[in-house]
């Protein structure tokens, strides 16, 4: 165990964690212990994954136990540690375009404001054709007794807007469409 290779074969694992690639190696020792290093220049760590019950596991990393919950999806696994969640993909997948979700909010030259959760329309603060400033509150949605304000991502003119107080919104549903007054930029 003192030498680094010790005759055991290492597997290369290229994984992606929350979109960040990691070049890791896994080595199974002759005594059954496993070691991992997460980058070629990092130290080897003795590791073990213990299954407790459906989903619930403990990973031991150099004798530090960390409890985690593993859910498998079609193309990736999701690891929850405490209140943190990590999406991990295996293999040589490329980084996805991180801007794509954001830019899809521009459709046919209109900036689309979507409901970020399921809820009911509590208040509509602007009217069709009105000029709005970036950051202005357009619509207030109530979900779980909390008010959530949907704000204009850009300055512009309201081209479409949800109708009817108390109407139910699904997550991701269009609430307001704004024609920007200037070339749209990614607002912060």
């Amino acid at each position: 165990m003192e030498t680094e290779s010790d005759g055991a074969m290492a597997q290369k694992h290229l994984i992606e964690i929350d979109g960040v690639p990691i070049n890791a190696e896994l080595e199974v020792q002759q005594d059954g212990d496993s070691r991992v290093r997460l980058a070629p220049d990092m130290d080897w760590q003795t590791v073990e994954l213990l299954h407790i019950r459906a989903g619930l596991h403990v990973v031991m990393v150099d004798n530090v136990p960390i409890e985690l919950y593993i859910e498998r999806n079609a193309s990736s696994i999701e690891v929850t540690i405490g209140s943190r969640k990590y999406q991990i993909r295996s293999g040589l997948t490329r980084l996805t375009d991180r801007g794509s979700t954001k830019s899809s909010n521009m459709v046919d030259g209109l900036a689309i404001v979507r409901a970020s959760m399921t809820g009911a329309v509590l208040e509509i603060r602007v009217g069709l054709g009105e000029q709005v400033e970036a950051g202005e509150v357009l619509v207030v949605v109530e979900s779980m007794k909390m008010n959530n304000e949907l704000r204009a991502p850009v300055a512009g003119v309201v081209k479409r807007i949800v109708e009817g107080l108390d109407s139910q919104l699904e997550e991701g549903e269009e609430v307001v469409a704004i024609l920007p007054t200037e070339t749209p930029q990614e607002s912060s």
Partner: protein
């Protein structure tokens, strides 16, 4: 003595009440909406009836249906918990008319205290200072002048509001008129009454409240204060008792003021008188919450009193079994509210399925929770999942235990505010007790330390690698296989495996 009590509520408070009923040997009747059929309050109760569809208006607020179930099940009383119908005087009255005991104050007390202007006048009439403000606004024309007299910034409040709901803040006179129109419409929508009043928006103040309890024999006693200054958008999230700034003299003053207001309102059952406390130690009456409160366990942990039990006994006609002098509060208690809101995503409510949850336990930790594996968190009700209360010999002990408890608390499947609470508990000003109602606006809550974040991220990566390599049984294995494999490896090496790192 009551025999059977219907609980007109859901979630952790309904379960809390089921437990108190079982402790007293009384039967419990749960009601549940169609979204709540698997809930713990249903499973723990002696009987359970479906009250209607998920929407609160058709289920937990459906007075006719609730009274029908009460009659059919043979209940002799109804406990409303908090929220829903707890401060609805008409409901309390309807219970009485149906021959059922309403576990709470009389309808007239609820009605009186539910009008926030009337409550302010009541407090003034018994010599309790109130937050500077106006009476109910009869027209908006007088508002600018009244606002100038009170002084900006100003709060516009709904007479029928309360509990932090329906408040708007105005910094400058030019915003007043538009704010009044919006507030009136909101109040009309939310409470069915658009009457407003103005109040000074006090800054650098603490929210201090006094728990009281009264019976049907004219006894009203105070159970000491709670400090609830840690609020996010006027919703309390961390509460404690005692308060670091309330000494014996101020406690006596606040206790007496609370009892005077309660007596003037003919109060019975558990209730809370809320005050603001400024830096000079001056206190101002805010409102009375004519019901049990979410934060009642901190008072229970320090005094040993069981407020829900006492509500039930008082409801059954018993006099209070203790007097103010019998109480000797011990130590310190802190409560944190665990809500299904995502602090990393602007506190958006998180709905979804809880695939795994584990609650903390052990010495000094009490949990009230409606969590279970498989729980569907829906958008129909409020986001409170659980309350953790930690008791310690002093504030620092209680705080340390709370931190330990929150680290033990696991909820997988929906986001919660646990990381946010942990960060607040570690802030220097929180540790020093430098609290006021603007605390969360003044303090930037930073993310987890990079070091901890890196440890978690690496562990997730390692777990994923071992899972991807999973077919290999020497990488992931059941303990039993592991044991025999280990045992032989151990014996081979005489002194066992020894990781290189240590």
């Amino acid at each position: 003595m009551l025999k059977k009590v219907l609980i007109a509520n859901r979630g952790e408070i309904a379960l809390r009440i089921v437990r108190a009923l079982h402790d007293l040997g009384m039967e419990s009747v749960a009601i549940y909406s169609e979204a709540d059929s698997l809930s713990r309050h249903v499973r723990y109760a002696d009987e359970a009836y479906c009250v209607g569809p998920a929407e609160a208006s058709e289920s937990y607020l459906n007075v006719a249906r609730i009274l029908e179930i009460a009659a059919a099940s043979g209940a002799d009383a109804i406990h409303p918990g908090y929220g829903f119908l707890a401060e609805n005087a008409d409901f309390a009255e309807a219970c009485e008319e149906a021959g059922l005991t309403f576990i709470g104050p009389s309808p007239s007390s609820i009605r009186l205290l539910g009008n926030k202007n009337a409550a302010r006048s009541l407090a003034e009439s018994v010599g309790v200072p109130v937050v500077p403000g106006s009476g109910p606004l009869e027209s908006f024309d007088a508002a600018p002048k009244l606002a100038l007299e009170i002084g900006y910034p100003i709060a516009i409040k709904a007479t029928a509001g309360g509990g932090g709901r329906g408040i708007r803040f105005v910094d400058r006179e030019e915003d007043l008129s538009r704010a009044l129109s919006l507030a009136a419409r909101e109040a009309k929508n939310a409470f069915g009454d658009g009457t407003l009043y103005l109040e000074a928006q006090m800054e650098d103040v603490r929210h201090i409240e006094v728990q009281i309890i009264g019976d049907n024999f004219g006894n009203v006693i105070p159970l000491g204060e709670r400090e609830c200054s840690i609020q996010r958008r006027h919703q309390k999230i961390i509460e404690e008792t005692p308060s670091m700034v309330v000494g014996p003299r101020l406690r006596r003053t606040l206790n007496r003021a609370a009892v005077r207001v309660a007596r003037a309102a003919g109060y019975r059952s558990a209730g809370t008188v809320e005050f603001l406390l400024d830096e000079e130690g001056r206190y101002y009456f805010l409102e009375v919450n004519a019901r049990l409160q979410v934060e009642h366990p901190v008072t229970e942990m320090t005094t040993g009193v069981d407020l829900v039990r006492d509500q039930l006994l008082i409801g059954g006609g018993s006099p209070l079994s203790y007097d103010e002098g019998d109480l000797s509060p011990r130590g310190w208690a802190i409560e944190c509210r665990i809500v299904a809101e995502d602090p990393a995503n602007n506190f958006l409510p998180s709905v979804g399925r809880v695939v795994f949850s584990r609650e903390p336990a052990g010495p000094g930790v009490r949990v009230e929770s409606c969590l279970h594996d498989g729980l569907e968190v829906t958008p129909y009700y409020d986001s409170l999942l659980a309350k953790v209360t930690a008791w310690g010999a002093d504030r620092e002990d209680a705080r340390a235990r709370m931190i330990r408890a929150l680290h033990e608390f696991q909820v997988v499947g929906v986001a919660t505010n646990i990381p946010y609470l942990l960060e607040i508990l570690e802030l220097r000003d929180f540790i020093d007790g430098q609290l006021d109602t603007g605390f969360l606006d003044k303090h930037k809550i930073v993310g987890e330390t990079e070091e901890q974040e890196q440890i978690y991220r690496d562990a997730a990566a390692i777990a994923a690698i071992l899972t991807f390599a999973g077919g290999n049984s020497s990488v992931t294995s059941s303990p039993r296989e592991k044991e025999s494999r280990r045992a032989s490896a151990w014996r081979q090496k005489a002194m066992g495996r020894w990781p290189k790192s240590i």
